[in-house]
C-alpha cells in the first residue's frame, strides 16, 4: 500500500477510478441492507429488542470487572485455561506460547476479527507458524494476501471471477472456472484436508456468558465447529467487551445479530463451547488492547457495545462507495472509524471525517450505538489534539472570523458572488475539488439580505 495515499480520501479516490465496480460494490451491499430491513420488519418488537440489547450491554460495561472475574472463575471450573492479554503483543505471545508448548507449527483459524486487530497471522508467520483461515471468505482474502474488507463478509470486494483466478493458482481449479459451486467444492476439499491434519484450532467469540463460563461462536459454514471439534487444542480469543451476564440474554442477541448482519433469522450454527472434550485442551484469551481506555472515554464508551454485525457498513453510503480497504484498519466502516482513533489518533485521524454524518449507521445498529454522534465528537477531539492540517485550521479560523462580523460577511459574500460572475475561472478550475464533477451554484444578482433591505426594511 502506498504510504502517501494511506488516508481514506486518497484510497477512496483510487477505488472510484472504476465506476462500474463501485456500482457493483454498492449494489451488493445495498442488497444486504435491504435483506436486513426485511428481516427487521418481520419482528414487530424489533425496536424493543434493540433497546433491550443496548441496556444489557450498558449493564455489562458498567460492571465489566465483576463479570470478567465471574466468567474467569466459571470458565476455569469448567476446565478451560484463561489468559489475560493487556495488548495485541501479549495476545500474540500467548497464542504462540501455547503452540510452542505443543510443538505445533501448523494451525487453523476461523472467524476472528480480534486476531486481525492484533495482526496475529503476520506475527505467527514471522515465527514460522503456518496459519490457514478456514472461514471461506477469510481463506480467499488470505490467498490474495489481503486483509478482510468487511467484518462479516471478508471478501465482499471480490468478484467470483477473481476468486476463480485465485483458486486456479492456489487450489488447482481449471483456468477461468468461476462457477460458485465448483469453487466452493474445491475449497471444501482443501479445507477437509486441513481439518484432519491440523492439531490446533483458534476461533473468535461472539458472546461469552459470565454466569456459565461458556462462549458462543456464530457461523454459517460450520468450519469453526469442524476445526475445533477435531483439534487437540482449541484457543478462543475475545475482546473483554464480548461478555453478557446470563445465558438467557442470548435470546436477545442471537435474534438481533444475524438479522442485522445478513437478514437471516439466525446463523446456521450458534455453537456453545463450555468445556474441553476428554483429551482436549481449551484456552480463552481475554484481550484488552485499548478497550479499558475506551471504557474511560465517556463520549466513546458505548462503542464497546458493538457485537460486530456489520450492519453499519452495509448501510453506510460512504463505505459502499469506498470499499473496506479504504479505512486502512482491521475494522472498516462507521464502527471502525470510532474504534480506530482510540488505538492511534494520528494514524486514524482521517477516519471520523470519512462520513457525511447521515446517521443511518446509528439507526441500523442493533445495540443502538450513537455512531454518527461519536464521529462528530471524535472530530472535535482530533482537532484539539492537533491531528488536522494547519491549512485547514487556518481556513476554519478565517471562516469563523467572517461569520462573526455581519458587515464583513455581507461584503465578502457580495465580493465572492461578483468574482464568480465575472471571473468564473477563479472557482471553476481543477484546484477546486467541487468543480471536478459538479457545477458551482450560479451567483444570483442579489443576496436575500440585499433584497430584504430594498423591499422590506423600514416598511
Amino acid at each position: 500500500m502506498n504510504v502517501e495515499t494511506k488516508d481514506h480520501s486518497g484510497l477512496a479516490d483510487i477505488f472510484n477510478q472504476n465506476e462500474s465496480r463501485v456500482d457493483w460494490h454498492d449494489e451488493t451491499l445495498w442488497f444486504i441492507r435491504s435483506k436486513r430491513d426485511k428481516a427487521a420488519q418481520g419482528l414487530p418488537e424489533w425496536e424493543l429488542l434493540r433497546e433491550t440489547a443496548s441496556q444489557i450491554k450498558h449493564n455489562v460495561l458498567s460492571n465489566l470487572d465483576e463479570y470478567l472475574e465471574q466468567f474467569e472463575s466459571n470458565a476455569k471450573a469448567n476446565g478451560i485455561t484463561v489468559h489475560w492479554a493487556a495488548n495485541a503483543k501479549e495476545h500474540n505471545e500467548i497464542v504462540h506460547s501455547i503452540l510452542k508448548k505443543h510443538n505445533i507449527n501448523r494451525m487453523m483459524k476461523s472467524k476472528s476479527m480480534l486476531t486481525e486487530e492484533c495482526h496475529l497471522n503476520d506475527y505467527l508467520k514471522k515465527n514460522g507458524v503456518e496459519v490457514i483461515d478456514t472461514d471461506l471468505g477469510e481463506r480467499i482474502v488470505q490467498l490474495a494476501d489481503e486483509p478482510p474488507s468487511h467484518i462479516v463478509l471478508p471478501c465482499i470486494h471480490k468478484k467470483k471471477e477473481e476468486i476463480g483466478d485465485l483458486f486456479h493458482v492456489h487450489l488447482g481449479t481449471a483456468a477461468g472456472e468461476a462457477d460458485p459451486q465448483v469453487l466452493t467444492e474445491a475449497a471444501r476439499q482443501h479445507l477437509r484436508e486441513t481439518f484432519v491434519t491440523r492439531k490446533l484450532s483458534l476461533t473468535g467469540v461472539n458472546f461469552a456468558v459470565a454466569e456459565t463460563g461458556e462462549f458462543v461462536v456464530c457461523t454459517n459454514e460450520g468450519n469453526a465447529d469442524m476445526a475445533s471439534h477435531l483439534a487437540d487444542v482449541h484457543i478462543a480469543c475475545m475482546g473483554i467487551e464480548k461478555l453478557i451476564p446470563q445465558r438467557k440474554h442470548l435470546s436477545v442477541f442471537l435474534r438481533l445479530l444475524t438479522r442485522s448482519a445478513t437478514g437471516q433469522p439466525i446463523t446456521t450454527y450458534s455453537s456453545h463451547f463450555k468445556k474441553p472434550r476428554a483429551g482436549q485442551e481449551m484456552h480463552i484469551v481475554l484481550v484488552d488492547n485499548g478497550r479499558t481506555v475506551q471504557l474511560g472515554r465517556e463520549d466513546f464508551r458505548n462503542s464497546l457495545k458493538c457485537i460486530r454485525c456489520g450492519a453499519c457498513m452495509n448501510t453506510c453510503p460512504v463505505y459502499r462507495r469506498s470499499g473496506g480497504h479504504s479505512y486502512h484498519n482491521a475494522i472498516a466502516g462507521p464502527i471502525g472509524s470510532i474504534l480506530a482513533p482510540n488505538l492511534d489518533m494520528k494514524e486514524y485521524a482521517d477516519l471520523p471525517f470519512a462520513s457525511t454524518l447521515c446517521g443511518s449507521c446509528s439507526n441500523v445498529c442493533p445495540v443502538k450505538i450513537d455512531i454518527h454522534d461519536q464521529l462528530y465528537k471524535w472530530r472535535q477531539v482530533l482537532v484539539k489534539e492537533g491531528h488536522v492540517s494547519p491549512v485547514k485550521a487556518m481556513g476554519m479560523r478565517a471562516m469563523a472570523l467572517t461569520f462573526s462580523m455581519p458587515k464583513f460577511f455581507s461584503f465578502a459574500g457580495k465580493a465572492g458572488r461578483t468574482v464568480m460572475k465575472y471571473f468564473p475561472s477563479v472557482v471553476n478550475n481543477k484546484l477546486n475539488p467541487w468543480y471536478k464533477e459538479r457545477e458551482m451554484p450560479a451567483p444570483p444578482k442579489q443576496s436575500f439580505r440585499e433584497w430584504y433591505a430594498k423591499e422590506r426594511a423600514g416598511k
Binding site: 480520501s9 424489533w46 476554519m396 475539488p433 439580505r449
Partner: protein
C-alpha cells in the same frame, strides 16, 4: 406571534428566492416575520469539521439577533438541527437554551406549530422529494427507512396539498446525497459519486424537479444536474408551497 427569520449564510448568498418564498409563505399564514440583519451563520461548517470551539462568536451573534422572538424559522434542516443541538451562549445562556427549543425548520413549523390543514399552491410537475439526512434522522421530518416504526412524512403531507403536483417514488427513499459540508471537497470522489447516484434515482423515476427542506443537498444535486446538462431542476420546498 413574531417569528425571526433565519436565512443561513449560503442560502442568503446563493438561494435568495428560497428565503423570499419562506418569508412570503409564513406571511400567508398570518405570521408576523422579521429578519434581523446582523445574522450570519449557525456555525455548523466549523463544528462539523471539528472546530466547534471556534463557533462561540457565531453563537453569540445568533443568540443576540434572535433572543426576542417567539420562534425562529429557517429554510434549512441541517442548520436548524445544529442550533438545536449545539447553540450555547456565555453572555446569555438562558436565551440560548430557550432558543434551542424555539428554532424550527420551515416544514416542521408549518405542520407542528401552525398545524396547517390546507394550503393553496399550484405546481403542475412530477416531483421527487430528497429526504435530507439531518432533517430526516435529526429533526425526524419523516420516518426513517431503517426503523420498524409507522411511516409518515411532513414534507409530503404539505406537498400533497399542492394542486397538480405528482410525487414520484424513489428506489432508495432516504439515501444521503453525499454533500456533508466540507466532506464534499475533502472526500471529493465518494461525495460526487453519492451525488450522481442520488440524482440518477430521481431522474430514472421521472422527476422533473427535486425538492427538499435543505438547500445544501439541493445545491449539491444541482451541481451534478447542471454538469450533466440535465433538464431536471432543484427547487426548495418553500418555493413549491408558495407557488401560485
Amino acid at each position: 406571534m413574531i417569528v425571526g427569520l433565519f436565512v443561513p449564510c449560503y442560502v442568503d448568498q446563493f438561494y435568495p428566492n428560497a428565503g423570499i418564498a419562506t418569508l412570503q409563505l409564513l406571511e400567508k399564514f398570518g405570521v408576523k416575520v422579521e429578519y434581523p440583519s446582523k445574522q450570519t451563520c449557525c456555525g455548523q461548517p466549523m463544528a462539523n469539521s471539528g472546530f466547534e470551539h471556534l463557533t462561540g462568536e457565531c453563537d453569540e451573534l445568533f443568540t443576540e439577533s434572535f433572543a426576542k422572538y417567539d420562534y425562529v424559522v429557517a429554510p434549512s434542516g441541517s442548520c436548524v438541527l445544529h442550533l438545536k443541538e449545539h447553540l450555547h451562549s456565555k453572555k446569555n445562556p438562558e436565551a440560548a437554551e430557550r432558543l434551542r427549543g424555539r428554532v424550527y425548520e420551515l416544514v416542521e413549523f408549518l405542520t407542528d406549530i401552525l398545524q396547517v390543514k390546507e394550503l393553496k399552491a399550484k405546481f403542475p410537475h412530477k416531483v421527487g422529494v430528497h429526504q435530507s439526512c439531518h432533517g430526516l434522522r435529526g429533526l425526524k421530518l419523516s420516518q426513517m427507512s431503517e426503523l420498524v416504526e409507522p411511516g409518515f412524512s411532513k414534507p409530503e403531507y404539505l406537498l400533497n396539498f399542492v394542486e397538480g403536483l405528482e410525487l414520484i417514488n424513489l428506489t432508495r427513499k432516504d439515501e444521503c446525497c453525499g454533500f456533508g459540508g466540507t466532506f464534499c471537497v475533502a472526500e471529493e470522489a465518494v461525495s460526487s459519486k453519492m451525488g450522481k447516484d442520488r440524482v440518477a434515482d430521481h431522474v430514472q423515476n421521472g422527476a422533473e424537479y427535486i425538492t427538499g427542506a435543505d438547500l445544501s443537498c439541493l445545491m449539491h444535486m444541482e451541481g451534478i444536474l447542471r454538469r450533466q446538462k440535465s433538464k431536471v431542476k432543484v427547487v426548495h420546498i418553500a418555493e413549491i408551497l408558495n407557488a401560485e
